[in-house]
Protein backbone atom coordinates (compact mmCIF):
# COMPACT_ATOMS: atom_id res chain seq x y z
CA UNK A 1 0.00 0.00 0.00
CA UNK A 2 1.45 3.34 -1.04
CA UNK A 3 2.01 6.07 1.55
CA UNK A 4 2.89 8.60 -1.10
CA UNK A 5 1.66 12.12 -0.49
CA UNK A 6 2.17 13.34 -4.05
CA UNK A 7 0.18 12.47 -7.14
CA UNK A 8 1.71 13.72 -10.37
CA UNK A 9 -1.28 12.86 -12.57
CA UNK A 10 -2.14 16.49 -13.21
CA UNK A 11 1.45 17.47 -13.94
CA UNK A 12 1.88 14.53 -16.30
CA UNK A 13 -1.29 15.49 -18.14
CA UNK A 14 -0.38 19.19 -18.21
CA UNK A 15 3.07 18.54 -19.65
CA UNK A 16 1.98 15.72 -21.94
CA UNK A 17 4.38 13.47 -20.06
CA UNK A 18 7.34 15.67 -20.99
CA UNK A 19 9.89 14.91 -18.26
CA UNK A 20 11.91 18.06 -18.81
CA UNK A 21 8.86 20.26 -18.36
CA UNK A 22 7.73 18.28 -15.32
CA UNK A 23 11.16 18.65 -13.75
CA UNK A 24 11.13 22.37 -14.49
CA UNK A 25 7.96 22.90 -12.46
CA UNK A 26 8.98 20.46 -9.73
CA UNK A 27 12.31 22.21 -9.33
CA UNK A 28 10.58 25.57 -8.90
CA UNK A 29 8.46 24.02 -6.16
CA UNK A 30 11.50 22.39 -4.54
CA UNK A 31 13.22 25.76 -4.45
CA UNK A 32 10.31 27.82 -3.15
CA UNK A 33 8.40 25.55 -0.81
CA UNK A 34 10.94 25.13 2.04
CA UNK A 35 11.30 28.90 2.37
CA UNK A 36 7.55 29.38 2.37
CA UNK A 37 7.08 26.70 5.03
CA UNK A 38 9.70 28.36 7.23
CA UNK A 39 8.07 31.74 6.65
CA UNK A 40 4.65 30.38 7.61
CA UNK A 41 6.06 28.87 10.80
CA UNK A 42 7.78 32.10 11.71
CA UNK A 43 4.67 34.18 10.99
CA UNK A 44 2.57 31.85 13.11
CA UNK A 45 5.03 32.10 15.99
CA UNK A 46 5.00 35.89 15.80
CA UNK A 47 1.20 35.99 15.53
CA UNK A 48 1.26 37.77 12.16
CA UNK A 49 -1.93 36.18 10.88
CA UNK A 50 -2.44 38.47 7.90
CA UNK A 51 0.96 37.62 6.45
CA UNK A 52 0.41 33.95 7.31
CA UNK A 53 -2.85 34.04 5.34
CA UNK A 54 -1.10 35.69 2.39
CA UNK A 55 1.70 33.11 2.34
CA UNK A 56 -0.75 30.21 2.63
CA UNK A 57 -2.79 31.77 -0.15
CA UNK A 58 0.17 31.90 -2.55
CA UNK A 59 1.36 28.39 -1.72
CA UNK A 60 -2.10 26.87 -2.20
CA UNK A 61 -2.17 26.54 -6.01
CA UNK A 62 1.32 24.99 -6.07
CA UNK A 63 0.19 22.35 -3.56
CA UNK A 64 -2.62 21.52 -5.99
CA UNK A 65 -0.38 21.36 -9.05
CA UNK A 66 2.07 19.05 -7.25
CA UNK A 67 -0.84 16.77 -6.36
CA UNK A 68 -0.34 17.02 -2.58
CA UNK A 69 -3.98 16.16 -1.93
CA UNK A 70 -3.62 15.78 1.85
CA UNK A 71 -2.12 19.25 2.04
CA UNK A 72 -4.84 21.01 0.03
CA UNK A 73 -7.49 20.91 2.70
CA UNK A 74 -5.09 21.83 5.48
CA UNK A 75 -3.67 24.87 3.73
CA UNK A 76 -7.16 26.12 2.89
CA UNK A 77 -8.05 25.83 6.57
CA UNK A 78 -4.85 27.61 7.64
CA UNK A 79 -5.63 30.37 5.14
CA UNK A 80 -9.17 30.72 6.41
CA UNK A 81 -8.38 30.63 10.14
CA UNK A 82 -5.46 33.06 9.77
CA UNK A 83 -7.45 35.37 7.52
CA UNK A 84 -10.52 35.45 9.74
CA UNK A 85 -8.45 35.16 12.95
CA UNK A 86 -10.63 32.34 14.23
CA UNK A 87 -9.64 29.04 15.88
CA UNK A 88 -6.09 30.34 16.05
CA UNK A 89 -5.31 27.80 18.80
CA UNK A 90 -5.65 25.10 16.15
CA UNK A 91 -3.13 26.70 13.83
CA UNK A 92 0.04 25.22 15.45
CA UNK A 93 -1.26 21.65 15.05
CA UNK A 94 -2.45 22.36 11.51
CA UNK A 95 0.91 23.89 10.68
CA UNK A 96 2.72 20.81 12.07
CA UNK A 97 0.60 18.45 9.94
CA UNK A 98 1.05 20.59 6.89
CA UNK A 99 4.79 20.77 7.47
CA UNK A 100 5.06 16.97 7.78
CA UNK A 101 3.11 16.39 4.60
CA UNK A 102 5.10 18.96 2.64
CA UNK A 103 8.47 17.65 3.85
CA UNK A 104 7.46 14.16 2.68
CA UNK A 105 6.28 15.64 -0.60
CA UNK A 106 9.59 17.42 -1.09
CA UNK A 107 11.45 14.13 -0.66
CA UNK A 108 9.20 12.34 -3.14
CA UNK A 109 9.48 15.14 -5.67
CA UNK A 110 13.26 15.28 -5.34
CA UNK A 111 13.34 11.51 -5.98
CA UNK A 112 11.17 12.04 -9.05
CA UNK A 113 13.57 14.62 -10.44
CA UNK A 114 16.62 12.46 -9.61
CA UNK A 115 14.99 9.44 -11.23
CA UNK A 116 14.54 11.19 -14.58
CA UNK A 117 17.87 12.98 -14.70
CA UNK A 118 20.07 9.93 -14.03
Amino acid sequence: MSNRVTDLTFLQSFTGGNKDKMNKYINIFLQMCPGQLDAMQSLLTSGNYDALRATAHSLKPQITYMGIKQGEGIIKTIEQYAGEKINTEQLPALMDSFNDICRKALVELQEEVNKTTV
Binding site: K21, Y25, I28, M32, A51, A54, T55, S58, P61, T64
Partner: protein, 172 residues
Protein backbone atom coordinates in the same frame (compact mmCIF):
# COMPACT_ATOMS: atom_id res chain seq x y z
CA UNK B 1 -10.72 40.12 -39.21
CA UNK B 2 -10.14 39.98 -35.45
CA UNK B 3 -6.53 39.23 -34.72
CA UNK B 4 -5.30 38.46 -31.23
CA UNK B 5 -1.57 38.85 -30.93
CA UNK B 6 -0.27 40.15 -27.62
CA UNK B 7 -1.06 38.63 -24.26
CA UNK B 8 0.27 39.76 -20.88
CA UNK B 9 0.54 37.45 -17.88
CA UNK B 10 0.91 39.41 -14.66
CA UNK B 11 1.61 37.26 -11.59
CA UNK B 12 4.16 37.36 -8.78
CA UNK B 13 4.09 33.55 -8.55
CA UNK B 14 6.77 32.36 -11.00
CA UNK B 15 5.35 28.84 -11.26
CA UNK B 16 1.83 30.03 -12.03
CA UNK B 17 3.08 32.51 -14.63
CA UNK B 18 5.37 29.96 -16.26
CA UNK B 19 2.70 27.27 -16.41
CA UNK B 20 0.18 29.61 -18.02
CA UNK B 21 2.77 30.90 -20.46
CA UNK B 22 3.80 27.35 -21.40
CA UNK B 23 0.18 26.28 -21.79
CA UNK B 24 -0.69 29.15 -24.12
CA UNK B 25 2.56 28.88 -26.06
CA UNK B 26 1.10 26.06 -28.13
CA UNK B 27 -0.57 28.86 -30.10
CA UNK B 28 2.44 30.19 -31.95
CA UNK B 29 0.64 33.35 -33.08
CA UNK B 30 0.51 34.70 -29.53
CA UNK B 31 3.26 36.97 -28.31
CA UNK B 32 3.17 36.33 -24.55
CA UNK B 33 4.87 38.67 -22.11
CA UNK B 34 5.22 37.90 -18.40
CA UNK B 35 5.46 40.53 -15.65
CA UNK B 36 5.74 39.81 -11.95
CA UNK B 37 4.17 43.08 -10.83
CA UNK B 38 1.29 45.29 -11.81
CA UNK B 39 3.63 48.26 -11.99
CA UNK B 40 5.75 46.55 -14.67
CA UNK B 41 2.61 45.67 -16.59
CA UNK B 42 1.40 49.28 -16.56
CA UNK B 43 4.80 50.54 -17.76
CA UNK B 44 4.46 48.28 -20.79
CA UNK B 45 0.89 49.01 -21.86
CA UNK B 46 2.26 50.79 -24.92
CA UNK B 47 2.79 47.29 -26.32
CA UNK B 48 -1.02 47.20 -26.67
CA UNK B 49 -1.88 43.84 -25.18
CA UNK B 50 -5.28 42.62 -26.26
CA UNK B 51 -5.59 40.33 -23.25
CA UNK B 52 -4.09 40.62 -19.77
CA UNK B 53 -4.23 37.70 -17.35
CA UNK B 54 -3.92 39.51 -14.04
CA UNK B 55 -3.34 38.07 -10.58
CA UNK B 56 -5.68 39.38 -7.91
CA UNK B 57 -3.07 39.49 -5.11
CA UNK B 58 0.53 40.63 -5.24
CA UNK B 59 1.45 39.77 -1.66
CA UNK B 60 4.79 38.22 -2.59
CA UNK B 61 6.23 41.52 -3.77
CA UNK B 62 5.39 43.50 -0.68
CA UNK B 63 2.75 45.46 1.16
CA UNK B 64 3.15 48.51 -1.08
CA UNK B 65 2.60 46.63 -4.33
CA UNK B 66 -0.53 47.62 -6.21
CA UNK B 67 -3.26 45.03 -5.88
CA UNK B 68 -5.08 43.43 -8.78
CA UNK B 69 -8.16 45.63 -8.62
CA UNK B 70 -6.09 48.83 -8.71
CA UNK B 71 -4.14 47.54 -11.69
CA UNK B 72 -7.35 46.48 -13.42
CA UNK B 73 -8.78 49.98 -13.05
CA UNK B 74 -5.61 51.57 -14.42
CA UNK B 75 -5.48 49.22 -17.41
CA UNK B 76 -9.12 49.90 -18.30
CA UNK B 77 -8.61 53.65 -17.88
CA UNK B 78 -5.61 53.72 -20.20
CA UNK B 79 -6.59 50.92 -22.60
CA UNK B 80 -10.35 50.37 -22.47
CA UNK B 81 -10.19 47.96 -25.41
CA UNK B 82 -7.78 45.62 -23.56
CA UNK B 83 -9.61 42.67 -22.01
CA UNK B 84 -8.49 41.79 -18.49
CA UNK B 85 -9.00 38.33 -17.02
CA UNK B 86 -8.54 38.15 -13.25
CA UNK B 87 -6.72 35.16 -11.81
CA UNK B 88 -7.05 34.34 -8.14
CA UNK B 89 -6.71 31.61 -5.58
CA UNK B 90 -9.95 32.85 -4.02
CA UNK B 91 -13.24 31.33 -5.05
CA UNK B 92 -15.36 33.94 -3.28
CA UNK B 93 -18.22 35.27 -5.38
CA UNK B 94 -17.85 38.82 -4.10
CA UNK B 95 -14.26 38.96 -5.37
CA UNK B 96 -15.43 37.83 -8.81
CA UNK B 97 -18.32 40.30 -8.84
CA UNK B 98 -16.02 43.11 -7.77
CA UNK B 99 -13.63 42.33 -10.59
CA UNK B 100 -16.42 42.32 -13.18
CA UNK B 101 -17.71 45.58 -11.76
CA UNK B 102 -14.37 47.22 -12.60
CA UNK B 103 -14.36 45.85 -16.13
CA UNK B 104 -12.77 42.40 -15.95
CA UNK B 105 -13.83 40.17 -18.85
CA UNK B 106 -13.76 37.05 -16.70
CA UNK B 107 -12.54 35.67 -13.38
CA UNK B 108 -10.64 32.39 -13.11
CA UNK B 109 -9.82 30.53 -9.89
CA UNK B 110 -6.30 29.09 -9.81
CA UNK B 111 -6.82 25.34 -10.04
CA UNK B 112 -6.12 22.42 -12.34
CA UNK B 113 -8.84 23.55 -14.72
CA UNK B 114 -7.65 27.18 -14.81
CA UNK B 115 -5.44 26.66 -17.86
CA UNK B 116 -8.16 25.14 -20.02
CA UNK B 117 -10.51 27.92 -18.87
CA UNK B 118 -7.92 30.50 -19.88
CA UNK B 119 -7.84 29.00 -23.35
CA UNK B 120 -11.65 29.17 -23.59
CA UNK B 121 -11.61 32.78 -22.43
CA UNK B 122 -9.18 33.68 -25.19
CA UNK B 123 -11.47 32.04 -27.77
CA UNK B 124 -14.42 34.00 -26.37
CA UNK B 125 -12.45 37.23 -26.59
CA UNK B 126 -11.49 36.48 -30.21
CA UNK B 127 -15.15 35.80 -31.02
CA UNK B 128 -16.15 39.07 -29.39
CA UNK B 129 -13.45 40.97 -31.27
CA UNK B 130 -14.72 39.44 -34.56
CA UNK B 131 -18.32 40.39 -33.76
CA UNK B 132 -17.32 43.91 -32.79
CA UNK B 133 -15.38 44.24 -36.03
CA UNK B 134 -18.35 42.99 -38.03
CA UNK B 135 -20.72 45.31 -36.17
CA UNK B 136 -18.51 48.30 -37.01
CA UNK B 137 -18.46 47.26 -40.67
CA UNK B 138 -22.26 46.90 -40.78
CA UNK B 139 -22.65 50.31 -39.16
CA UNK B 140 -20.43 51.86 -41.82
CA UNK B 141 -22.29 50.08 -44.64
CA UNK B 142 -25.65 51.16 -43.18
CA UNK B 143 -24.44 54.75 -43.05
CA UNK B 144 -23.21 54.61 -46.66
CA UNK B 145 -26.51 53.17 -47.88
CA UNK B 146 -28.50 55.69 -45.84
CA UNK B 147 -26.52 58.55 -47.36
CA UNK B 148 -26.85 57.09 -50.87
CA UNK B 149 -30.60 56.62 -50.35
CA UNK B 150 -30.95 60.15 -49.02
CA UNK B 151 -29.06 61.58 -51.99
CA UNK B 152 -31.26 59.56 -54.36
CA UNK B 153 -34.47 60.89 -52.75
CA UNK B 154 -33.21 64.48 -52.92
CA UNK B 155 -32.26 63.98 -56.59
CA UNK B 156 -35.71 62.63 -57.44
CA UNK B 157 -37.40 65.56 -55.70
CA UNK B 158 -35.23 68.12 -57.51
CA UNK B 159 -35.79 66.46 -60.88
CA UNK B 160 -39.53 66.21 -60.22
CA UNK B 161 -39.80 69.90 -59.32
CA UNK B 162 -37.79 70.80 -62.41
CA UNK B 163 -40.27 68.86 -64.52
CA UNK B 164 -37.67 66.44 -65.70
CA UNK B 165 -39.64 63.52 -64.33
CA UNK B 166 -43.38 63.08 -63.86
CA UNK B 167 -45.52 61.00 -61.60
CA UNK B 168 -46.91 59.25 -64.72
CA UNK B 169 -44.38 56.73 -65.84
CA UNK B 170 -46.13 56.49 -69.22
CA UNK B 171 -46.80 52.88 -69.41
CA UNK B 172 -50.48 53.14 -68.38
Amino acid sequence: MADLKTIFIVDDDPMQAMMLQDYLSKYSTFDIKVFNSGEECLKNLSLNPQVVFLDYNFDKIGKDAMNGTEILKEIKAEKPETEVVMFSGQDKIEVAVNSMKYGAFDYIVKSESAFHRSENVIFNIIKRMKLQGEAKLYKKLTLVFAIAFGVAIVAVIILYKAGKISDNPGWF
